[in-house]
């Protein structure tokens, strides 16, 4: 097995006047859960479409599971599974039939298809509804079924495009748990896109942060946290008065402060010392039982974005009459479903 599940080199995709992906170079180790983190239109979906050969790159190259996407796309598709931005379930088919179809596509024997669908439907809590048309499921259940379908043929690598988008917190957590358990059981590599920062911090062991088509940072959540530095003080105690907040707001090194369930959180300008703030709080009569300086993954994410606050010039190569075109808008207007394929003609 190749050391890297995905390798890209200067991968670039332009849509007429817009560069949706800008010289992306990535190396994702096999067996990891890689989270591609960025806001809507950052280039996450474009990356998945390029890696699955549904789009052609304008420049650069990509290899998936050791196969060049440009020349060995059939082999790539044979060994991967995908949940794209649209779940792509057949609403009129039964829940189990949706899986059955994908089992047939991958030439799984009948007995294996039956066993696998029972295993996955039980895992995702859908077994009791296996005979119902998929269209009758709730939104959360549909996402679970779509994830189950992506994993059905035991791919070596699975692409999940925002699997928990639009789910309520309980369903999202349940889906995340099922996903992590399955990945641990089956050793599959996961390429997951999300704009949910805490989700990426919890689930992924490697993360890439992308904005306007450019990779801003990548590494493990711990590495990203460490590189961002500790810029938050958490004070457990009492006596967080109005006066203390007023004085904190006047300090130039304080970005913001708030209380959360009996603890005071103070965000500092990166590189600032915590000592004057602690003295200030003590002077205001705050009783401090415990003071911790920490950085959450969310802080690290914001720090990365803050460091790149100015808009990268290369990401938008031109602007239209009505100003900049958002990457996702341009995508929706111009992308066929399998570029070069006649089967996707007329989509745009």
């Amino acid at each position: 097995m190749t050391q890297y599940a995905i390798q890209t080199e200067e991968l670039t995709r332009e849509y007429s006047t817009l560069r949706a992906l800008d010289r992306l170079s990535l190396e994702i180790p096999a067996g990891s859960i890689f989270g591609f983190l960025g806001s809507n239109g950052a280039g996450k979906t474009t990356t998945i479409h390029l890696l699955l050969g549904l789009l052609r790159p304008t420049a650069g190259r990509a290899a998936v599971l050791g196969h060049d996407v440009a020349t060995e796309i059939d082999e790539v598709r044979r060994r991967t599974g995908a949940l794209l931005d649209k779940a792509g379930l057949y609403a009129r088919l039964g829940v189990q039939d949706n899986l059955e179809f994908y089992g047939r596509i991958w030439h799984m024997p009948r007995r294996e298809r039956r066993a696998r669908s029972e295993e996955l439907l039980r895992q995702f809590g859908l077994w009791d509804r296996r005979k119902e048309p998929a269209g009758r499921l709730s939104f959360g259940m549909k996402r679970k079924l779509a994830v189950a379908r992506a994993l059905f043929h035991r791919p070596d690598l699975v692409f999940l495009d925002e699997p928990t988008a639009g789910l309520d917190p309980v369903s999202a957590e349940s889906l995340r748990r099922s996903l992590v358990d399955l990945v641990a059981q089956e050793g599959v590599t996961v390429f997951l896109t999300t704009h949910n920062v805490p989700e990426a911090g919890k689930v992924c062991d490697q993360i890439g942060i992308i904005r306007s088509g450019q990779l801003l940072a990548s590494g493990s959540p711990e590495e990203l946290r460490a590189s961002a530095g500790s810029n938050r003080i958490v004070v457990r105690g009492s006596g967080f008065t109005e006066e203390a907040f007023t004085l904190l707001a006047l300090r130039p090194e304080v970005e913001r402060a708030e209380t959360r369930g009996g603890t005071l959180h103070v965000w500092l300008v990166p590189g600032s010392s915590a000592a004057p703030i602690i003295s200030l709080l003590a002077g205001c009569g705050v009783l401090m039982e415990e003071v911790v300086r920490e950085t959450t993954f969310e802080d690290a994410f914001l720090s990365v974005l803050g460091a790149e606050d100015h808009e990268p010039q290369t990401a938008r190569v031109a602007r239209g009459r009505f100003g900049a075109v958002r990457a996702d808008e341009a995508f929706a207007l111009s992308v066929p479903e399998r570029e070069g394929s006649e089967l996707s003609a007329g989509v745009a």
Binding site: L93, R104, E337
Partner: protein
């Protein structure tokens, strides 16, 4: 490749006969089978079995029914957002295309064959006497003509659906195409010299059914070969252009 085509055909069949939405499909099928299997043979009587012009019905009816079946094949998948996921699987374009054509052909051809025994019941009910039945040759002719026109309709409909952004657009395009295809010859006949026109009408009314069937079969074999080849070439070209990506 055959297993890939079979997988797509299986899915298409499941969707066509799925519990949800089955009522509207069933209604169309009942109307179709009722018209071709009961009403028309009852009106025509025993000559339904031997009249040469009846051969035109076995050509026309499957194509007519095909409108509702094929419009959804690609345009429907596109509208419902399932096409992207399907194209991200290991299935080659050719298998997807062939699977959809095969599903449409078997569905419509099967429905047409279902109307054959019904037509015998209607004929025997209308005109009691010696039992009216199809000879093996007649049955073979009917089955072959219906199959050829089903392939023609399916290939045309699936290619049309491929090019349509919505199901409604696909239905309109296909209906228009069918209308043109069948109205044009009617007007074309009017343009023929009087002698040729009379000869053609006489052949259709008083001629030998077998000969008419042979002519129709020859025409549709050519059309089917052309259309299916066009569909496959379309898919093969697509595969080649995909593998040339950034080469």
């Amino acid at each position: 490749m055959i297993r890939d085509v079979a997988a797509v055909t299986w899915k298409e069949w499941r969707e066509l006969t799925a519990a949800e939405g089955w009522e509207s499909g069933l209604l169309g099928l009942v109307l179709f089978v009722g018209l071709l299997g009961l009403f028309l043979p009852y009106q025509v009587g025993r000559s339904w079995l031997s009249a040469p012009w009846v051969m035109l019905f076995w050509i026309w009816i499957p194509i007519f029914l095909m409108t509702t079946v094929t419009a959804d094949t690609f345009a429907g998948e596109r509208e419902r957002g399932t096409l992207g996921s399907l194209l991200a699987t290991r299935l080659p374009d050719r298998a997807i295309l062939a699977g959809k054509i095969a599903a449409a052909v078997t569905y419509v051809w099967g429905a047409t064959l279902l109307s054959v025994p019904l037509s015998l019941i209607a004929i025997n009910f209308k005109a009691p006497g010696p039992l009216a039945y199809y000879t093996t040759g007649q049955l073979g002719t009917v089955a072959a003509l219906a199959l050829l026109s089903s392939i023609f309709g399916a290939a045309l409909g699936v290619l049309g659906s491929l090019r349509s952004p919505t199901v409604r657009h696909a239905q309109q395009t296909f209906s228009l195409g069918v209308l043109v295809a069948f109205v044009f010859p009617v007007f074309g006949i009017q343009m023929l010299p009087a002698a040729s026109k009379t000869g053609l009408i006489q052949a259709l009314v008083f001629g030998e059914a077998g000969r008419v069937a042979l002519v129709l079969a020859a025409v549709f074999i050519v059309l089917d070969v052309l259309l299916v080849t066009a569909a496959m070439v379309t898919a093969v070209t697509a595969v080649r252009s995909r593998s040339n990506v950034a080469a």
